[in-house]
Amino acid sequence: MVDDEADLAEAIGKALRREGYAVDVVHTASEALEITVYTPYDLISLDLTLPDGDGRTICRTIRAEHEHQPRILMLTARDDIEERVAGLDDGADDYLVKPFALPELFARVRTLLRRDADVAIGAELEIAGLRLDTAAHRVVWKEAEIDLTAKEFSLLRFFMTNADDVHSQEQLLEHVWDAAADPFTNTVRVTVGTLRRKLTAATGLQWIETVIGAGYRFVKEPVPG
């Protein structure tokens, strides 16, 4: 979340965290360029007018130079058609004008993140009968809701969006936890463990494999276990 209005950036960060996303907030263009080099963010919300530079330049730099390509949402008070077109042409995926309603921001964030998933139907992700509603925050297996904590839900959402890929603990930490998380705790291992237990208990299937020395994989075709 890049915005020089500290009060706004913090509020949006808080709102998105409540929705189960891991959010880092910065206020300047230089900070934004620095952290996006090191952290493979899924989505960057970018203000266009920053005290030390402009958001469009950041967007172009990320698109041209960065190895990891995040989704970019431009969040700005500029609303003329020319600005929107220029922003999208610079490589932004979406454009939202301030002031906005939080539900609209959430919906756009969901849409942008869903584009990575090949298992999305509307706001739902579905794999082998396991359904995750990104808008209603529900996980359902055969009409029965599975009760998950916010963190477990975020983890499952990330897994289902990137099913069949192997993710290391570090990657999970980067995508599901924010920069404030302590990289040396075993919080990732613990959360993966509880999620795996809850899914198996509810469905009777093994969804998350441990790949020795590499990390975890969420499989599209779970085996009974």
Binding site: L8, A11, L102
Partner: protein
Amino acid sequence: MGRIRLPSFAETIRFRLSLAFAVVVFAVGAAAIAGVFLYENSTLVEPVIMAEKKIVRDLATGELTEVSVIFPEESQRVMAEKVELDAYRRALNSLRTSSFLALGILFLAAFGSGWFLSGWALKPVRSMTAVAQGITGSDLGRRIGMTGPRDEMRDMGDTFDSMLDRLEVAFDDQRRFVAEASHELRNPLAVARTNLELALQGGDDEEIRTAAAIAYDAATRMSGMVDELLDQARESLPVNASETVDLGDLARSVVQDFRASARQRGLRLEVRADPVEVTGDRLALRRAAVNLVSNAIRLAPEHSTVTVSVAKAEDGRAQLAVEDVGPGLTPDQRTRVFDRFWQGEGQEGRGAGLGLAIVKRIAERHGGTAEVVPAGDGSRFVITI
């Protein structure tokens, strides 16, 4: 009884011009023909019989009487002349009939050529009308672009074009201003809205209190901006009063108003004001001085000195200057500081960035200048009128 309604073609200037032209030509033609007839008529005179007078004596009475005697030759001459006159009369009559016909044709021909000529002369007007009809507030790009000799129509077209140029500049300026102003207002609006929305979605007491405080700050910021925007809108009006203003008095009274807020920040506010009189708008000039002084007080480092001075420059122009000892501006900032909506970095309690833009506008409207020059570690803002 209302006015007789003319058919729509008769209401055009082209029709009226053609009709007037035809009537004039007809009248001139008719007068000429009438003149010719009157003259010719006057030359036709009945022949007179010339008789010879003779004195005859009555043989019976011896009385003398005078008698006229017409000789046969004379009678024949008169007969011939009468025939001739009759022929003339008949020719004249027939000429009159054909003249009336010719007059009718002349009228129609004059109307036709008048129609053609006025159409030709009015063509530029029609093209100007077409362009003017195509112009709206959002599309001021069209021009008449008349070519041809430098005549009245071309002058009119060019005048029209240059008026459009000026309108387009004014409209663009206005559009940019609205875009910038709405941008400036949307930011605090977004801050307030998002924080309140978040707090309303099940925040605890503390969260609601924080959101309220943030929304309050945002509202304060917005109302400051609205004031500045209204000032700016008012400043676009022409100078409405030309009175004699003593800049020295004005500076002293502005400084007096700011003593309290200067004290709050631990600033010394000095004033060195000569009595210098200028002609202008007292309220606008005061607004300019207020903006400069409040800027300096807001930004100067604590416990420093802000100096306000009024003096007559060597060339006789009046100068009002506000000088601080920091934080100073970079050359790049100095070129942009008078721009509308320009904001310094990391300024506390910032406004809309219109204050100095307004100062510049007021100075220019008084035929003067506003500039900033470095002064030690700080800056010196000078209005010269």
